[in-house]
């Protein structure tokens, strides 16, 4: 029988979706039965008490978790998020309930043996509850006690060759799409870049000294499978400088119905015959895609890399051969000032190891943001506050028309205040004497 009665939580199980309540109950039951004879290092009823304290919070309408604390492994300022409950006598199993963030492998490739080994550690030294994966990509291990932290860290690093992830005002665990390992659209080796930069910036990952969090994400192409442009301060997105490669025979096969558009992804319903004009030409955002005389003609200079045509006809259209990446900066979630997407900073950069060019951009940004950023200010907010032009200056980049939304959208990006007579302000009364409204 359950340790605590949880009528409000039980109600959550009645909906149509899988319920986290059922999952926690399952784990609670498994821990009590202990079929594998695990030598539990934290209270066996941790999951029962977790449900109990959550029920109490539902009843009272307020949380019983305290936020943060002095927890971590020696020498690391991140990777562990301290959680303590404020009712330790009633719920001793969750008196401490710290979260451990574990750096996922690039592209999230695991062997089943690796996952079992992680769970062996976590069943023994933690609650057995996980969140795979957290928003930033980490394997999130939910709920352990302070005394177990160094032990977990030792086992992860020594036996599983795995490090903790990032938390706090530091570089968060970088993440990438699966890139060239499986995807023909990948314009660079995302896993290699993610892995290299994770290793090169260990100090930034584990010893916090930034004003706030800083995230790297690496998308191999503008399809953006890790949504770098929306979810990372520093977004690296694969692109090409030359032309989309067109195989006109395959185009004819798509038009003629021999090849299924979208690789057959929309085959579940009868959408009618594939109509290249309706499906691609009319949907091209920059109008650069034409279908004339049975052939595809692309004005590549106008292509904005929306990827739609390539996605619809992957056998006929392929990414160009002169490949690299674009760097965008400043995406963030809507905690302050609303959500923000990254802004294009570097239109094209080499994405070949050892990534010196990319690292130069990164380090220039960090030097500036660490100096000028306010506490708890994301780099995207610093960029907005001080101006995109300032960002170009600190990264030693020349303004480029692609830095602005459209021609003449914001020409002031090209001039500094001191270059303009009178600066950005003017005496409106003096002006009105000479110029009527």
């Amino acid at each position: 029988m359950a340790k605590h009665k949880t009528p409000l939580l039980d109600q959550l199980e009645s909906g149509p979706w899988p319920s986290f309540v059922s999952d926690i109950k399952d784990e609670a039951e498994t821990r009590h039965k202990n079929p594998n004879g695990v030598d539990y290092q934290i209270p066996v009823d941790v999951c029962d008490d977790l449900l109990g304290i959550l029920e109490l919070s539902y009843v009272e309408g307020e949380t019983h978790w305290k936020h943060g604390g002095i927890v971590g492994v020696f020498g690391y300022g991140g990777g562990v998020i301290g959680r303590y409950c404020d009712q330790p006598q009633a719920f001793p199993g969750v008196a401490h309930f710290h979260t451990v963030r574990v750096n996922q492998p690039s592209g999230m490739y695991y062997t089943s043996d690796y996952l079992r080994s992680i769970m062996d550690v976590w069943d023994r030294r933690g609650s057995g509850l996980t969140n795979m994966h957290g928003s930033t990509g980490d394997l999130v291990l939910l709920g352990t006690q302070t005394a177990q932290l160094e032990e977990i860290f030792f086992e992860l690093t020594h036996n599983l060759n795995t490090d903790l992830g990032g938390s706090g005002g530091n570089l968060r665990t970088p993440s990438c799409c699966l890139g060239e390992s499986r995807c023909e659209f990948a314009c660079y080796d995302t896993q290699e870049m993610c892995h290299t930069l994770t290793n090169d910036y260990q100090d930034e990952l584990h010893r916090p000294a930034f004003p706030y969090k800083f995230k790297f994400k690496f998308d191999g192409c503008p399809n953006g499978c890790v949504a770098a442009i929306a979810r990372s301060d520093f977004s690296v997105i694969g692109t090409w400088r030359d032309k989309i490669r067109v195989d006109q025979k395959a185009v004819a096969a798509y038009v003629g119905g021999e090849l299924a558009p979208n690789a057959g992804a929309y085959a579940g319903r009868d959408w009618g015959k594939f109509d290249i004009v309706a499906e691609i030409v009319n949907r091209c955002p920059s109008g650069c895609f034409q279908f004339e005389g049975g052939k595809v003609v692309i004005n590549d200079k106008e292509c904005v890399r929306c990827m739609h045509c390539i996605n619809v006809m992957p056998r006929a259209l392929r990414i160009g051969n002169d490949r690299g990446a674009s760097i965008l900066l400043g995406a963030k979630a809507p905690i302050l000032d609303g959500p923000q997407m990254s802004s294009l900073l570097v239109p094209f950069i080499s994405a070949e190891a050892p990534y010196d060019e990319v690292k130069e951009v990164i380090e220039n940004i960090w030097d500036w943001w660490m100096e000028e950023g306010k506490n708890r200010e994301r780099v995207g907010e610093t960029m907005k506050r001080m101006g995109f032009q300032k960002l170009l200056e600190v990264t030693k980049r020349k303004p480029d028309p692609r830095n602005v939304w459209e021609p003449r959208h914001n020409p002031y990006i090209f001039w500094k205040e001191e270059d303009v007579t009178g600066g950005w302000t003017r005496d409106i009364d003096a002006y009105r004497k000479k110029h009527q409204r």
Binding site: G68, G75, G78, G168, R207, P208, A209, P211, D367, E371
Partner: protein
């Protein structure tokens, strides 16, 4: 001017103790304010060393990290950590 570890350590401890009546935890930026002429990365090296020597500790909320003197503030006692 390069930072000398022992001098820098003494300055940081002095700064942190001077605020101890009102604050027990500090942003990295606050501590960099003690050395306005120095590069922040150099200050970070000093702080890392102080953490390694267990003079300072990290305090993390999960989204923000603060530095404090080991044992300062209510937290350590309140959580029965000491």
């Amino acid at each position: 001017m390069a930072l000398v570890y022992d001098d820098a350590k003494a300055k940081i401890v002095e700064f942190v103790e001077s605020k101890s009546k009102t604050k027990s935890k500090f942003y990295f930026n606050d501590l960099c304010g003690v050395f306005p002429e120095e590069k922040q990365r150099d200050v970070k090296k000093i702080l890392n060393q102080m953490v390694a020597e267990e003079i300072m500790i990290y305090w993390s909320s999960g989204s923000t990290t603060l530095y404090g003197l080991k044992g300062a503030g209510k937290q350590a006692a309140a959580e029965h950590e000491d």
